[in-house]
């Protein structure tokens, strides 16, 4: 499609707006309200154009291109209109500096003048130099504003964490409102009031946190002025340079642009071209990454405990000391814990270190790889996982979506952003979970199960596929007849009861959506400790997917859970978390090598504990030796996200003196202990070895990944998928009269390695309190507990302290907590399962 723009013929591309076509052709049309990802809005009227044959002026952002269209964007009449519109916008925005001839020299001489509470001109504005309004004034060319200036004198809102809201600088372009609503599905903010009183705000003007904001920061990134500004960046100089890294925190693999200044990360923004995140992030990537490398809790020197206290020593001494002690333990007497937020190379080196140097099979990931791992286990004997799972793009393109066991907007916000893209195209949404979620508002049907009732629901749904008319195809594997028979003989009423869902009709509605033609995607997450009950749920979901032709996206909890799951398959089987804990408690594990967070257990002291860590934590008190390890931006390496996308993340920061990468520390130990083959010179060499050992990484190299923007892991063979026969008897959660409530432990990555974000930033603690146990107000009433009361949670085999929080979203008889890796001293326990019976009493 061709249009003429200011006399030049340009190729416009159907379906575009004139503004998009002009941008693509490199022609500048000023605009303040348009954002490419959002629906056209036509608010600021700066992009007015003339089209021959049409009367008056039309906004380029709301006008679709038509073949042969003749467009003028720079006529004198248009320029006059634009100047007038800009003048009107500027009457309510501090403008003195914008039209001041001294502006440039002023910037140079008054570089710290921004340290004032109120912004009355550009030189006082935290957004100075990054402001789109400045750009537009420059482009349109304005030398005076003829209308009297109005300062609205609205109180600057500073009570929320991470960013300030100064609506005296707001030009009401609505980008934040639309981003929050359209792109993030939150709708926390709206335009409130009218006319000259109109302002952006929350319901009843409460703080953002109270209004349910998840602090993703998308509004801050969308704001063209200084109205929304990141507090931490307010008084920083502009960054020296920006580099792209992969966020190591959760399993989405977001590419983040980190701004660097003087060897520090001063901020991070989602990279617009990030393959997994496409310009979006969450609170962790947006506001917490900068807190990690420079944290006060950083460990920067090796230490050993000679007598009572840990003492700083040289690397050589610490390595010799540890190597000597480690040698004294026999096979399988050492327990190794590794963080799943490390790079693929670090994890591979640590696994190899465990096998060849420590000579132990007791190797445990700090956080279970949950859903992806379980699906890969099933795939092992029943078909190739790559023909079953899908990427985030498939989520955005789906016609029907089923979200199982995850509050996506909180735990996996980027997956949620993709679900919203599908919903915009009228996809159906089924939400199955134990608690209320902001997703419910968007769902066609919400299936509220009781904790532990998930597998009954999934079994019921799979059965419905067969009874409601899905053809019993023999192509679903040799044993499929038995599976069909299993589902046909299920007692639906009993399953409904054990799922805890009130009405069969809502299950029927969900089943009807699943049976509809089109692409279906099931997103699934497990709890903290994937147990037999969740294995059973996995089997039902696997069958449900096969019966409907759906794709699955198992969600991984931490930055490299999926990579760890692939590596694990090339090593000896790992023990379960509870088996490992028992081995520690009962002394079968005599020494611990902790290269990842592990709760401090209230058991007798382990003989020898080595900490390979980046941050001080509760575990430090028990350590006999500490090796300071590098953090994500200080080490180059790869991460595998929840989709199975292998991405390269460069080293953009120098680690502090005395800090070494994880792989280098274990390599040095191996050389001193003269065990194992650790002759790696760099991380790239480790990936090369991993690519020969781990089939999924075959052919991977740093050079290739840098060029190709990441790639999807290959799994060997494309064998057809089989239906799997579920357990004959459903797994039941043990009930016990002394422990009347069911506690559900959910893990969403709430920290990096040993650093809990709630500790790193007080604002995060306000958003997600790791100490909280949520209860239904009815249960709280009968326990005589109020919001914020200290409680003791006891279960068979242990207890921990917490704080009671009340929420209608939690079903009666249930309780919920974020496990947070057992990093809080009060939470120093390993849960026996994802859902288990507890007793709650007042007091710690």
């Amino acid at each position: 499609m061709k249009i003429s723009l200011n006399g030049k013929q340009i190729d416009a591309g159907a379906g575009r707006t004139v503004l998009e076509a002009a941008r693509a052709a490199g022609v500048y049309i000023p605009s303040l309200c348009d954002i490419p990802r959002l629906e056209p809005f036509g608010g600021c009227r700066l992009c007015l154009i003339e089209i021959s044959g049409r009367r008056g002026y039309v906004p380029a952002c709301c006008t679709s291109v038509e073949d042969g269209m003749t467009v003028l964007s720079e006529t004198p009449a248009l320029q006059k209109i634009r100047r007038e519109i800009l003048e009107l916008i500027l009457t309510e925005h501090p403008n003195a500096c914008l039209i001041c001839t001294e502006k440039e020299s002023c910037d140079e001489h008054k570089s710290t003048i921004r340290k004032v509470g109120e912004t009355t001109g550009c030189v006082l504005c935290p957004n100075n130099g990054r402001c789109e309004l400045q750009d537009v004034v420059e482009a349109v060319g304005l030398d005076r504003v003829r209308f009297p200036a109005v300062y609205r004198n609205i109180d600057i809102k500073k009570t929320d964490p991470f960013f300030d809201r100064d609506y005296n600088l707001c030009i009401l372009c609505g980008r934040c409102v639309r981003t929050c609503q359209e792109e993030r599905g939150a709708g926390t903010i709206s335009f409130i009031r009218r006319g000259s009183e109109a302002v952006v705000g929350t319901v009843l003007d409460v703080p953002l946190l109270e209004a349910g904001c998840q602090m993703c920061g998308a509004c801050v990134d969308a704001c063209p002025t200084g109205a929304l500004t990141e507090r931490a960046l307010k008084y920083e100089q502009p960054a020296e340079r920006t580099d792209s890294i992969i966020c190591p925190v959760c399993g989405m693999g977001c590419r983040m642009d980190v701004s660097l200044l003087g060897g520090r990360i001063i901020g991070s923004r989602p990279a617009p071209d990030g393959p997994a995140n496409g310009g979006q992030a969450c609170v962790r990537g947006r506001f917490l990454l900068r807190e990690i490398p420079g944290s006060d809790l950083r460990i920067t020197m090796p230490m050993i405990r000679r007598k009572k206290d840990l003492e700083e020593v040289e690397w050589a001494e610490a390595l010799d000391f540890v190597a000597g002690r480690l040698k004294s333990f026999k096979k399988d007497e050492i327990g190794l814990v590794y963080s799943t937020q490390l790079t693929t190379e670090d994890i591979f080196a640590l696994k190899k270190f465990g096998r060849d140097v420590l000579k132990t099979k007791r190797v445990l990931p700090s956080s279970a790889s949950g859903a992806p791992d379980m699906m890969m286990d099933l795939a092992g004997t029943n078909g190739s996982i790559s023909s079953l799972i899908c990427d985030l793009n498939a989520v955005a393109e789906a016609d029907t979506l089923v979200v199982c066991g995850s509050d996506l907007p909180r735990a996996h916000p980027i997956a949620w952003v993709n679900v919203l893209k599908a919903l915009k195209k009228d996809a159906g949404l089924v939400v199955a979970g134990t608690a209320d979620s902001s997703m419910d508002r968007h769902a066609d049907v919400t299936l509220r199960v009781k904790p532990g009732g998930e597998s009954a629901l999934y079994g019921l749904l799979a059965g419905k596929m067969i009874t409601n008319g899905r053809e019993k195809s023999g192509a679903l594997g040799p044993g499929s007849e038995k599976v069909f028979a299993f589902y046909e003989s299920q007692k639906e009423k009993a399953l409904l009861d054990s799922s805890g869902i009130e009405k069969m009709s809502s299950v029927e509605t969900a089943a009807a959506l699943l049976l509809k033609k089109g692409k279906t995607v099931i997103l699934w997450d497990t709890g903290t400790v994937p147990d037999d009950r969740e294995k059973e749920a996995a089997v039902h979901l696997w069958n449900l997917a096969l019966l409907t032709g759906a794709r699955l996206l198992p969600l991984s909890s931490t930055g490299n859970s999926r990579g760890a799951a692939e590596i694990r398959r090339s090593f000896a089987a790992e023990p379960t978390a509870s088996a490992f804990t028992q081995d520690v408690a009962e002394g079968r594990i005599k020494a611990l090598y902790l290269a990842g967070p592990f709760p401090v257990l209230k058991t007798k002291k382990t003989e020898f504990t080595v900490l390979q860590a980046s941050f001080w934590s509760e575990a430090s008190a028990k350590a006999d030796a500490v090796f300071p390890a590098a953090v994500f931006a200080e080490t180059e390496g790869t991460f595998v996200n929840t989709e199975g996308r292998l991405q390269y993340s460069p080293r953009v920061l120098e680690p502090p003196d005395g800090v070494k990468e994880d792989w280098r520390i274990v390599s040095l130990l191996s050389q001193i202990m003269k065990r194992g083959d650790f002759t790696f010179k760099n991380a790239s060499g480790i990936l090369k070895e991993a690519s020969e050992v781990v089939p999924a990484f075959a052919g991977a190299s740093f050079t290739g990944l840098k060029k190709s923007n990441g790639r999807f892991l290959k799994s060997a063979g494309e064998s057809p998928l089989n239906l799997i026969l579920p357990f004959e008897k459903p797994t039941k959660i043990p009930t016990n009269k002394s422990y009347p409530l069911l506690l559900e432990c959910r893990d969403s990555a709430e920290g990096y390695r040993e650093l809990l974000f709630a500790v790193a930033h007080p604002g995060f603690a306000l958003l997600r309190d790791p100490e909280a146990v949520w209860l239904n107000p009815k249960d709280a009433k009968s326990l005589k507990l109020g919001d914020g009361d200290p409680i003791k949670v006891s279960f068979f085999g242990g207890s921990f302290g917490a704080v009671a929080r009340l929420s209608d979203g939690v079903p009666v008889g249930a309780a919920r907590t974020i496990y947070a890796g057992g990093l809080l001293p009060e939470l120093s326990f390993v849960p026996p399962a994802s859902v288990f019976p507890v007793k709650i009493t007042r007091g710690q």
Partner: protein
Amino acid sequence: MGKIPKSEHNDRRELIHLLHDIQEKHGYIPPEAIFVIARKLRITESEIYGVLTFYKGFSLTPRGKHLVTICMGTACHVRGAPRILDEFSRRLNIEPGKTTEDKQFTLETVNCVGACALGPIAITDGKYQGQLKTTDVAKLVDGIRDGDAEGS
């Protein structure tokens, strides 16, 4: 707060109807109603708040038993509406937009009621009082008070 009225569609189309019903029944929109409506219509609380602060007809604070609305449109303005408003304000001892302490009167202004020929105009409890003079105000207020006294 009582029950939220029934509605035909359970979506955003119903928002303004529901707000009208609640306003009529309670004389204002109790803030907790916002959260109930949000759940019912599956829209966000902030969207509801945006709509209800947009229209002058909705109030988030309880209004008095009697509503006095003064037109401040151009025609009324030139015919002395500000003086009428001042007089109401003085007689009732409240600022425009406020409610008397005994919850009997709420005084409000609007920008035009479309009855310019009758200006200056006040609407008391839905009754249009045209071509007002400041001396009429006392009579009007007393009339409403007397009406109450007779009724009780």
